[in-house]
Every structure is written in structure tokens, then in C-alpha cells.
Symmetry: D2
Subunit: 224 residues, 4 copies
Amino acid sequence: MKIWVYDQPREVARETFADYLDPATTAVISIDMHRGHLEDSPDCPCPAPRARDVVAPIDAFHRQVRARGMPVVHVKSVLRPGGEDDLRGIPAAWRRTFAQHVGPIPNADAHALEGSRWTEWVTEVLPQDWRVENKRRLSAFYPTDLDFLLRNQGIRTVVFDGGFTDCCVLNSAFDANNHNYRVIVLRDLVRGTDDHLESAALSMVSLHLGLVMDSAELLVTWRG
Amino acid sequence: MKIWVYDQPREVARETFADYLDPATTAVISIDMHRGHLEDSPDCPCPAPRARDVVAPIDAFHRQVRARGMPVVHVKSVLRPGGEDDLRGIPAAWRRTFAQHVGPIPNADAHALEGSRWTEWVTEVLPQDWRVENKRRLSAFYPTDLDFLLRNQGIRTVVFDGGFTDCCVLNSAFDANNHNYRVIVLRDLVRGTDDHLESAALSMVSLHLGLVMDSAELLVTWRG
Amino acid sequence: MKIWVYDQPREVARETFADYLDPATTAVISIDMHRGHLEDSPDCPCPAPRARDVVAPIDAFHRQVRARGMPVVHVKSVLRPGGEDDLRGIPAAWRRTFAQHVGPIPNADAHALEGSRWTEWVTEVLPQDWRVENKRRLSAFYPTDLDFLLRNQGIRTVVFDGGFTDCCVLNSAFDANNHNYRVIVLRDLVRGTDDHLESAALSMVSLHLGLVMDSAELLVTWRG
Amino acid sequence: MKIWVYDQPREVARETFADYLDPATTAVISIDMHRGHLEDSPDCPCPAPRARDVVAPIDAFHRQVRARGMPVVHVKSVLRPGGEDDLRGIPAAWRRTFAQHVGPIPNADAHALEGSRWTEWVTEVLPQDWRVENKRRLSAFYPTDLDFLLRNQGIRTVVFDGGFTDCCVLNSAFDANNHNYRVIVLRDLVRGTDDHLESAALSMVSLHLGLVMDSAELLVTWRG
């Protein structure tokens, strides 16, 4: 089975990671594939344009996941419309720090506001999918009920796709690891700030947190 | 005030980050500076040799922090001696994944076992310091009482030093950010797996999580 | 100031509990005042008929709270419509245990299902109020983001009203206490399973967790 | 099988609660059986004298539990010696509220201080038992790593014995329930503030949280 270790392909015996590979106890977690990151518009409040490339491939992967009877969980940031979670409370750090890198973000104040178009999903979300819609900062796990949900469903392995490999995806992989889930990050279905940080984040995952794989390889591996 | 943004120095106005800079509500969090990472011996169970270089500088920085009346919190991994937290339960991912990168880690089974010499502090820990001694995986926050402690003491800013910039330090910075602490990571007082991942982790902090600073600069800034 | 200690009125000096009484850092938390508990209908899925008596008094109290510029937080149980949080996962204990006491609960399976009429608020919820709508079991705090919200808003005292004094209210008071909020439960604005358990739960609050007060007395006390 | 529902014995079919009764996924949690509650001395910092009666019976029960190869977890309050968790931070509510009921508690400031004799176990703690020694307030679960431990060991049912039925035991039963553990409280091996609150707390458990049983009955039931 091919995994990626520190940005290099590596053939490993499937048995070495057998506990990562049981479809019956696996869920796919798709992070922040919403209009507020992905819309191609100057007023996109928190642009992650590189992730647009993976919208169609993620949809295709999820279809295969559902066809196997496995759950897809969509997680996204939504903030209370009055600003209590952020601008009118303790503001999220990225508002000032990311702006040091990319310059002012014109419409950042509209980011993730409940009820706004910016919270609409861009990827396909079907009725049987599970949704977690109160991510408030970077992690899919805190302060949401994702862990409660996964645990209640007997999930032991989480497979991540979606947005900002070096931010929300990496953070969620850390959290999943700390909660003793087996972690897989899909190299072809995540996108980071840029190539450099994306690659570095995947290297960190591969060293400390779990497996970095291509989605096609994982599908083959699940077939057994 | 000089900060580092994506590995480059940047001069910013102190007022831009005034809420990060109040010594009265700041604690320094020192991560995993224990013998199990730092001892120069072939049976060191989880070697992080690069962090040996910062033992003396961290001690010197902590002395100045204490002299200002500010708290130093030492956090370290300790696992129940019977293995219930790890080897005899759901084993930590790094045992298999990090070994893909560095090869077999001969004495890894002894890592962090309660009561063993591997849990001894290498940096100076004084009676007035605070200690969190049940980190079980990578984060200083989960499943420990660090948040309970900081909150009870009215802490709003956390300053990180210590070990594995791209692992436990980065994970703890993510968690601190999600709990709405203001985050500062000290570039000269943390060490990562290697130069590349260390630099990338600091870049991620600087973009998404908070400030990357040199310790000397922070001391000057605190002086006001 | 009059408080209730183990079901008896007691006059105490306001200064003894001064840290409980600052309106500027206080929020009112109203628990589970929804149709699924309160509707007077044979298919009410989880009947708490005694709490119907406090709907109007709670609304009146909240109006005064808002008039002071203080926040009202409405928390309620909502379960994913597919049953993943409960019936199709690990079912909530009360389904079998409460039925030992009251007999079969005919429509219990419909309890709290997202999108159903059973989740509609019965008390007045205004746009400026805060809502927490993913309570999954008994506590208002886990696995919701209530603590994240309160903390972000600098809240230090929580005042509880609403339903099942000896269940969700008591559980939430325990959790608030463990997170070091100052706790006040409003004796006239909560209702329990029956008089006996309601009184016992208030006695427990008064001994271990915080203040039991009448809402009129609290309003007077806030006036200072 | 005999359970207690709202203080009355009830015969129920074992199959109704089959998921509560698998010894292979059950742990016994013993709460706060330490000298600071149990010592018969005027300077006992937080007296719970009624619980002295269950020391020997708890020890006897634990011996049978261990003989079955099942884990016993001892949880107790320990506070950092400098007072950061309590008196020199946000003080625990009970210090003022419980004193309204029983009058001044002379040596309360010494309660649970790390390194003091008050934290010594009174019940038998064997090397193979698991220990959780950083309970800070009332719950055995927060901010400790009890959930991390139980989950890592595949535990699904928790059986409680120990001290203050209407306080730490009840709070821990609520938390266990919210985390979807199956909960059993042993009626003969817990003690509350007084008969009235003890009985009421057990009634609450029996209605909302799980099973109230006698320890002898549970042992018989486990035999199958």
C-alpha cells in the first residue's frame, strides 16, 4: 500500500496499519468547503482559492464513500450573526495575522456569519450525510459535537479532505490524534495556503499523526 | 516591535497587538523539556536532540519571567506505568509513523512512563512554577487541566517555548488559539524535527495563530 | 439579601456573595423551554408538564433582563434527524430509565428531532438573544459551545431558569460550577419532575454549587 | 434482576439492560475516598463522616471486582499546593455555600492540597488499580483525563461508589451519561450529605441516568 512519508512515496505492508483500514469504523470528514472560502469574487471574506481545484474531486470521492455505505461528515465554520463568537468578543487571531501575509482582507468581517450566503456549501451535501455547522475557530472538534457524534457511531478512523491543509485540516488531524482516532489525510483532496506550507503540513501529519495517502489508493485499499 | 511573518522579520506597531502584550495576564508555557526527549543516550525513548540547544536559553528566559512576577508553567508527557494510556490501549500514532521517517526507535516503549527517569525535567523547575504532568499525547491542553488552571488565574496570553515546534508546540498553539488565548511562540526557544519543519511550523503560527517573536524582543516589549 | 439554603429562607449579607452579583458579567441561561417538553398533547415526546407554569413568568423575567442590557441564552435539545445522536447510536439512558417511573412514553422516538415541531421554542426568543441549539443529552455545556460563547463574552455568573430542576438544570449547574462560573438558580422559574425532587435538587444547588434565589429578589439585588 | 427506581425495589428483566452488564467493558469508579473527607478529626478539612461506613464494604467489593479481572479506578481531589486552582484563583463555591448549612469549616483551606496527608487514600489502592489524582472540583471527569483513560481501554459501563452521593457522585454520573457511558450507582456503597439528599440523588440517577443497584446484586448479575 502506498503512503507518503515526508513528501516521499513509501510502500508499506497493509498489516502495519491494519487498524487504520476498517471501512466499518471509518468516517470521512470534509472541512470548510463553503462559499466563504471558495467563491471566486472580490468580496469572498476568507479566500482559499487553491481549494477550488478539489471541489469536483472531493464530490467524486464522497460518492464512492457513500456507495460503500460509509458516512461523510461535512464540517464548516458558522458564527453567530451578532458577532458574539468573534468580532464582538475575542476576535479570531487570523484576522490580524493572516493580513500580515496577504494584506488587508476587504470583506473579512462577513466571514461565516450565520444566515449569510458565505456559509453555503460548495461541495455536494446529501440528506444522509452528517453535518457539523458550528465550528467557531480552526478545529473541527472544538467547540463542536464532532467527537460526540463519531463516538456515538463507533467511528475509530477519520479520513480528512477539504480546506487549508496547514490550518483547519492540520488542527483537526492533531485533535483527532489526541482523541485516539486513527488519522488519514488525503493528499490529493486537501489544499493549503501555498505549495510550501501544504507540503510541510502533510509531512507533519505523516511523521506525527497518521497516514498521508492518495484517495484512489485508499479506495483500492478499502476494497481489501 | 519586531515579529516574524512567514519566516521574515517584520516591524509592526505595538498597538496592533496590544491585547497580546499585557504581562499581568500572561503565562509562559514550556513544553516537554524532559529527559525522555533530551537525554544524550542511545536508550533515550523519544529523541529530540535539537532541543538540547535551548535548555540553557529557556532557563535564562524563565528567570527573567519569574523576576517580573509572571508564571512559568511546565507541561510534560507522563503515561500511566501499566501502559493503559498507550501501549496497552490505543497506541499513539507517532510510534509507527515517526519510525517510518527515522527508523526503529529502540527504547520507545519506555517513553514517558510514570515513575521512570525519562519523565525528569531537564530545565529548571522551581517551587513557585506551575506543573502540568499528565499530557498524554501531543497537546498541552487535552486531556490535561491546563485550560482550567490558566482560566482560574485570569491568563489571556500564552507564550510557548520548548520541544517539537512542528508537533507538541504547534498543536498546543492551535488549541490555545481555539480557546481564545492570545498566542506567542518564541522562535529562538523552540526546536522542531529539523530546520525545514521548524520553519514551516513557525510560518503557520505566524499566519493563523498569533505572533512569532524572539524572546529578547518580547522581554523588551514587556518593559513597555 | 434573601437566599434559600436547603429549602429554607436565609438572610445573608450581600457582600458575602458580591462576586455573584455583577450584572455586567452575568448571563441568564434558559434551559429546554421547547414544545417537546411543554406541549399539552398526548404525543408530546418527553412531557414536563409542570414547567408550563413558568413560561409566562420566565418571559416576564427575561424582559427585565434584556431591559438591563444583559444577555439571555436559550439552550435546547436538538438531535440529528437521522437518529445518529441517539436512537441509531448509543440511546440516551432516560428512554429506558424514566419509563420505569412513568410507564411507556408513546412518542419518545420523536424527541428533539431537528426540523420537527417538537424543537420549537415556547418561551419568547428575540433576535438579540443568544441560542445554543445542539444540546444532545442533559447538560447545556456538553457537547455544545455554551462555554466558548460565555467565555468569549466575559461572562462570570450564570443564572439558570427552565426545565427539569433535578435533571438538565441541575446537570448544567454542576457543569457551570466545574468551569468556575458563579451559579444562581431561580427557585420560582425552574420546575422539576415533582415537588420532592425539585426541592431536593435546589437543596443540592444551595449546598454545593451556588445560590438559590427568587427572581424578584435577584432583580432587586441587581439594582444594588 | 433487582434495581431501585425512585427509592423502591423493582424486578426487571436482565435483557432490558443487557448493554449495562458486560463485565468485559465495565470499570468501577471510586470517588474521593480520602482522608480529607473521611478522617475522624476536628481538623478534617471537608468532613463527610457518613462515608466512613462504606470504607470496608467498598474494599470488599473492589477485591471481588479485581478477582474478576475488572479495573478499579480511584479518583480524588488534589489541588496545587500554591492554591492556584482554588483559594488563590476563583474559589470553589462549596466553601461558602456548604458553610451556610453546616457553619464554618475550620480547616477548609487545607482541603486536598497536593502533598498533604489530606489527600491520602483511605480505601485500599493496589498497584494494578488506575488512579486519577487531579480532580479539581466536583466531577471525576472534568478537568481530569478519566474519559481519555476509559475510552482508551474500551470501557462502556461505569459503576460508581464513594463519596457524596448528592455531589461528586451525582455530578460524575451526569457526566458519564453525557459521554454515553452506561451508568450504574451502587446504593449500598455511596453516602450523601444526609439520608434525605442521598435518597433523592439516587432517585435522580434512577430516573434520568442509569441503574441504581446493590453491589451484591450486581456481582450476582455479572456471574450471568
